[in-house]
């Protein structure tokens, strides 16, 4: 109705996204630490 909510997301895409997201977060945190 408001946001378009997909019925399903392929498992592979979901996993790749999860791994990439976590790696990105770890990377961002370590970047912040390095320049601090």
């Amino acid at each position: 109705m408001s946001e378009t909510i997909p019925e399903a997301v392929p498992a592979t895409r979901r996993r790749v996204l999860a791994v990439a997201g976590l790696l990105f977060n770890v990377g961002a945190v370590s970047f912040f630490f390095r320049i601090r």
Binding site: M1, S2, E3, T4, I5, P6, E7, A8, V9, A11, R13, R14, L17, A18, A20, G21, L22, F24, N25, A28, V29, F32, F33, I35, R36
Partner: protein, 405 residues
Amino acid sequence: MSIDSTATRPDVTEGASPPTLRCVSVQELFLAFLRLGLTAFGGPSMVAYIRKLAVERRAWLSAKDFSDGVALCQMIPGATAMQSAAYVGLYLKGVPGAAATYIGFGLPAFLLMTFFAILYGRTGSLPQVAAIFAGLQAVVVGIVANAAFSFGKTTLKNWKQYLIAAAAAALFWFNISPLVVILLAAAAGWLFLSGQGASTLHSSGPARIPLYRKPIAGILVVAGLTLTVLDLLDPDLFRLALLMLKVDITAFGGGFASVPLMYHEVVEVNRWLGARTFMNGIVLGQVTPGPIVITATFIGYLLAGIPGALVATASIFSPSFLMVIGIAPFFDRLSASPAFRKIIQGVLCSFVGLLVSVTLRFAFQIQWNPVYAVLAVGALAALLKKIDILWVVMGGVVLSILLIR
């Protein structure tokens, strides 16, 4: 309070779900949603992840009951995915179950965002960080433009709805309070719209969820006492809490609906943060898992440290939680009411307008150059092509580093 809802679900074998319902403990629910909350990158797709977990993998509820729950969560204010998580817990284990799934799903986002906010507070003014965020602010323009477009595409079906959205955009642009805009849109919806297609609820009504009077009353009393104590101890935190409560109560249509409301209150009315800092909070809300509403944690931290983060987060998530457990028992009657459907339709139209207006406001904050234009247009184009928001932001980071040097 101790209603074992799993034992009395005659309709659980309906729909596409497997025929048997697995017993589940509150602890198991918490852990399952904690794991999901840590890995749920992807905006509206989060609801699909919850469906996969609860309907397909664990067979906790039928596809039909889940869809009805999502229809409820889309119609009431608050972050849809978080509320869908609460609905699953509520369905299975009553209020303790709802609290377990809600907190489990939101906790990783809260912790990560607090961590990012701490680091941002210490490094945000450094040139390298500022340069990256400057590029990402252009990406945010693309992201919010996409939210307005996606919201509009699914909400606006006829000229009257377009008119309400346009009027809302114009009123908000001229600094009329979003609350007034929403109320006017509700009245316009009630008077002029048909209410058709406002609900995706199945004809047989939603799952029979009892009204948990005592827990709801308990939560309200605790919330009232907490607010009173907060007002006595720290009036600034109290104001922050009230502001976030107000944003959550009025954020119809999902997480992104809270962006214009939060922006208006935090940046324009109270001038607690600058527009660009607010946009940086949106960026961080996109790269952390969980809902965009988690930007409230960032705002709370920047304003008042860890207590601020806690107060802002609790305030932005409490009303939508209460609404799920309070409204679920009545949702079949409510969504069958033509007046309610018309009003909700009007309100949702106004949010399309609010999002358009806030997109323009964000755009005016940027000192445009060709690189930023490429970032904003690229982000919008990628999102319209259904590329996940995480890739878009990550691409924005890489391009910001490469191009803005």
